[in-house]
Amino acid sequence: MSGMSVISYQEAALQAVAEEMRRDPRVWALGEDLGRGGVFGQYRGLVDEFGPERIADTPISEATIMGASVGAALVGTRPVVEMRFADFALCAVDEMVNQAAKARFMFGGQARVPMVIRQPSGMWRSSAAQHSQSLEAWYTHIPGLVVAAPYTPADNKGLLKSAIRCDDPVIYIEHKDNWALEGEVPDDDDYLVPLGPARLAREGADLTVVTWSKMVGVAEQAAEQAAEMGIEIEIVDLRTLWPWDQEMVFASVAKTKRLMVVHEAVQVGGFGAEIAATVAEHMAHVLVAPIRRLGAPRAPISYAKPLEDLLRITPDKILNIAQEQTRA
């Protein structure tokens, strides 16, 4: 029997990595500044327990952090790859998309590439256009990759552990604004949240909001306000974007007959479009209001606060659309 502790999103991830490294000597982590805990402290103290070989400080060589991890995974280790900011993973796109995602298939199943690619994402404090992006949709497009984007601390522990144990390359998206978010997390060092199933974050009868990562919290705020206006919003926290939990989304939409998809990423070509299209293809007959998407305008993220704020998804924006959808 193990209990629960209230810990942060960051501590939950730290626990996940430490537990998996204790459990499996083939697991190691690599990236810039990890020996001092990583830029967000998500590796704090690990070098003391596991040593500098397994918590490896690398040069600022994203392509080779990624490419060497592919090579090291092909020969039987299980790298946890730290990209520092999702934006910097773009320096390693060949290694992710052409190498990690394709090796198993191209080589006819001879090899596996068990690696977790951690990409801290999203808008936080005045970080402008190269340190704020949410690019998860790009990776959902690539056969061979699994994409996870946890919101709760418990999910950040359970999903990260599952990702480390998974034999597929997993793009693991943590929201930079979530590091300090606290929540109940099982102490159990075998606490796993499977990759794939979504989490029903809130029940409601009138409208389904499908979202992930930090936007789950924003949607929850909107749902509180909506409830006061008599609109009951159901929130599906997708947690894993590829594969995504069609079953839960379909079941929820069958009940509420309305769907809104909310994400922080640019709306154009966002993953919300995939969900909206899939629901439209399968469930148009049950819908009583048009499906709506809410994502960011197609603009680089500004530095100046009021301009940055303009691009944020807020509870108000969700609420406005919810009112339009339920008026019908």
Binding site: T58, T64, G71
Partner: protein, 337 residues
Amino acid sequence: MPNDAVHSSHNIDRDRLVDLYRTMRRIRAFEEAAEKASLAGLVGGAVHLSIGQEAVAAGVCANLRRTDQITTTHRGHGHCIAKGTDPGAMMLELFGKEGGTCGGKGGSMHIADFDVGMLGANGVVAAGIPIAVGAAHGAKLLGEDRVVVCFFGDGAINRGPFMEGLNWATVFQLPVLFVCEHNGFASTTHSDAVTGGGGANARAESLGLEAFEVDGNDVAAVDGLVGDLIPRIRGGGGPMFLSARTYRLKGHTSVDPALYRDQEHAASQWDGDPLVRAADELRRLGLGDSDLTAIDSAAVGEMVRVAEAADAADTPALEHAFADIQDIGAPVWEAQS
């Protein structure tokens, strides 16, 4: 301690040179069979022949154990054969047939054979460099005394992963031998015309690697030098770098007539054909013409047979298009009736 002296042919044992010659001849015969199949339309896609460069593959891989590993490039058939991959499976792969090294899903540029330490050719120039470095990093973490050889061309030294990968190998003191096959061309471009500074070895030395040069058309010289380097690398001597000067006797791909190069100069390069040079050396060491001919015809016979077998083989079952993609979230194969 940099060493850019060009190593020359050492006093090689005749039996060893016979083995090296046989490997080169098998590579040449494979490439000629592949070329023929490509020109006949039996092999689709780009086929990059290593005709003229066989001595590098043979001389390097003769010094490796089965458990040692290599990565290679788009021009990798020779390295695969020299490392021990079955040419029958390779030819099936080129033909896109069942039983190919990758089940027909990779083709010429993605041949891999993990059982013999062949960690994959690559369709992206220089992409094998970080992968080789990582395989060596893995060996170090796992405490295995493997050496990894990373083959690439002179065009690859202008991509970022070259600098990153060499630096990484030095920083982590990894057991890697980088082998740059300097054939003078990157596709249709003279590589010298687009390479600044002192070239591959100067770059390698600046990143802390010991760098060597060898006549890459002298198989005995390659074998001798690499035979010195591999034990040093295995013994913890850190990464090393080798530039092998060679020449791509054919075009960039099987269908490229290579008209962009001086035709007279290109024709004269056949005089330096590494197979001709090795055969001359073998004759000097007393091998008879009939022995040489026997090796040649055995190699040609073998590769003609594998090409015939590949032509006759079945294409992969359609469901393989959806196999081995991922465990979680794999596409569902729905058989078309």
